[in-house]
Amino acid sequence: MLHECPPGPVGDFLDRFRLDERFPHILCPGCGIGTAMGTMVRSLAELGIGEDELCVVSGIGCSSRVPGYMDTDTFHTLHGRAIPAATGVKQAKPELTLVVYGGDGDIMAIGGNHFIHAARRNMDITVFVVNNRTYAMTGGQYSPTTPTHEKAATAPFGNCERSFDICFMARASGAMFVARSTTYHVAHLKKMMKLALTKTGFSVVEIVSQCPTLYGRHQRIGDGVKMLQWFRDNSVDVSKVEDPWQEQERFVIGVLHDREEVPPYTALYQRVREAAQQADSA
């Protein structure tokens, strides 16, 4: 069980961010969300980000339940609204590190417009999108990332819509840093998360994750282990593909976009304040 992790550095990290009395958690056996959460916690700890310098914000969904297991400031908001809520917190307390943690439905469907505009505004927040290609919490309906033709609870004859690429969307909207990893590649995922957390400005890590209970069953992939093997066998590093945005079949993992930093919104708005105050004294 998670709360009996071995002593040593890893245990220490988990102890630091873990709300013991909340365990056992509500996630299914074999689910990838816990792996992604554990990796996030290790990344935060290794970067030396303290519990009292952090606020973890989420919306609604299986993935979004994660902050409720963390011993830090946590903000479990409405479905799709983690990003605007984090925007308010960041602007009020710029010194806090803001992490948004949520699902593909939460962040890319109902919250899609907020995602685009926070990226455009360059809010200094780090967004971890757990992409399990489905609305898991409500029972496995198709989401904006469910591939065409796949079956889902609301697509019994196959999904007729096209899916979209979270990372491409992030880059197009103006994100400073965009990466993808999977719950199989835990060390790689941690590296991506740490890079995202270090980057100033809007940064996004898409975490391809397994939902064996719903997605795995609908696609007949199998249990959590089978799904992880599927990630292992179908991922390719970004350095090995010609055009990462054209890959349809495989998961392209690695840093997909890392641009020269521009000032985040908080700094830009500080300039607005200075201009307003100067106009006053003039």
Partner: protein
């Protein structure tokens, strides 16, 4: 120094003087001047004006700033108010003391963007889903836009609830000369002086005026829109659900007597007008006209706080009324609450206007004089023939 100001400006000034330092919004007529005022003034004061991508983003962003310890506000009108409803529920559930201004225009849908209305009275009460307390204030003048914004800030902090300021297009755009106080006083909670192990974000059982931590202060605050325990973490335990719901209900119920805010005059009269917002201006004028014409006085009750509806108070204030008139710029919304405050044989006459124009004093005067069927017929001498005002040049 006296100033010529609009209601929207007075509202923004009241907010700034009461300590509002964060505004998240999205432009919409007829509330936009509030946003523009904040965009100009907040950066000078070191605050933030942020224009969000929509009203859902606005209210959630405001909730975030409130959770991080700033006094925050948003302002909108009809369609935007509709988009905000889920977020208002969140402010209530998480107990975030923020201010939501709705400068009412005609609905439904896009309705009449530039015309006035009081059509959102019931939406303010019941717009967000689930049982919940609501506090809503309704100014009738430029000065009151200032005063009630300050009151909204004060009440929101005391009860740790959002407060809705229901203005309307007439009050928002009307200009009056006012002299506003430079200093205003509002209640503020203190920072917790306890170790974080002893701090519970919803731990105050009996009063709501305790010490409150925000994000970033080392107390590891947990906020959720789910039903939660006193430490802020979610639960499905029936006993705790009941505790959480009762806690929210009691915020308003236990404090109703000092919360209620209304003015009244001449309640000995047999006819009493119950009114609020800009319709109360017409109602006051109607009362004066009728008195002058007939020599008979008319009672008036004006609600400055429309929600919670002052039920018990109204029962006692309307005890001797033989008929009640409720003029509103809608299809009759408050009249239902008033009906519940009088005995069934007292007729409650709903005077409605929903063509985007203000009610005229004449329309209300007509209603005062109108003969209405009543379960208990009124004595002969109590019935006054209505008089038409169309041929009276005074109107």
């Amino acid at each position: 120094m006296p100033q010529l100001l609009s209601g929207n400006e007075a509202c923004a000034i009241g907010a700034l003087r009461a300590g509002v330092r964060f505004f998240a919004g999205y432009p919409i007529t007829p509330s936009t001047e509030i946003a523009e005022y904040f965009a100009r003034e907040l950066p000078r004061l070191g605050g933030t004006y942020i224009q969000m991508e929509d009203e859902i983003g606005s209210i959630c962003c405001m909730n975030g700033a409130t959770a991080a310890g700033l006094k925050a506000m948003t302002a909108t009108s009809g369609p935007g108010f509709s988009l905000m409803q889920e977020g208002i529920g969140y402010s209530i559930m998480a107990e975030l003391p923020c201010i939501i201004v709705n400068v009412m225009r005609g609905g439904p849908a896009t309705g009449t963007p530039t015309r006035s209305s009081q059509g959102d009275l019931m939406q303010a009460r019941h717009g967000t889903h689930g049982d919940h307390p609501i506090i809503a204030l309704c100014p009738w003048s430029v000065r009151e836009c200032f005063d009630l914004t300050v009151e909204a800030v004060d009440v929101s902090e005391r009860l740790r609830l959002p407060v809705i300021l229901l203005m309307d297009e007439v009050v928002g755009h009307m200009r009056e000369t006012v002299e506003l106080p430079l200093r205003v006083e509002t209640w503020k909670p203190s920072n917790p002086r306890r170790p974080k192990e002893e701090y519970f974000h919803y731990g105050d059982e009996t009063n709501y005026d305790s010490d409150i931590a925000s994000f970033g202060e080392g107390f590891r605050v947990h906020l959720t829109g789910l039903v939660h325990r006193k430490d802020g973490l979610p639960t499905n335990d029936p006993e705790t659900i009941r505790w959480n719901m009762d806690r929210l209900r009691r915020k308003v119920d236990d404090n109703a007597s000092w919360l209620w805010d209304l003015t009244y005059e001449d309640l000995g009269a047999e006819t009493v007008i119950v009114c609020y917002g800009s319709s109360a201006r017409s109602a006051t004028e109607a009362k004066n006209l009728y008195q002058r014409k007939t020599g008979r006085s008319v009672g008036i009750i004006r609600l400055r706080m429309v929600w919670p509806f002052p039920q018990q108070r109204m029962v006692s204030l309307l005890r001797s009324a033989r008929r009640v008139i409720v003029p509103e710029m809608n299809m009759g919304q408050m009249n239902r609450s008033v009906e519940r405050a009088v005995s069934p044989d007292v007729p409650v006459i709903s005077v409605q206007r929903y063509d985007g124009e203000m009610l005229t004093p004449g329309e209300i005067v007509d209603a005062i004089g109108r003969e209405v069927p009543s379960a208990r017929p009124l004595p002969e001498e109590d019935l006054h023939p209505g008089f038409s005002i169309a041929d009276d040049e005074e109107f």
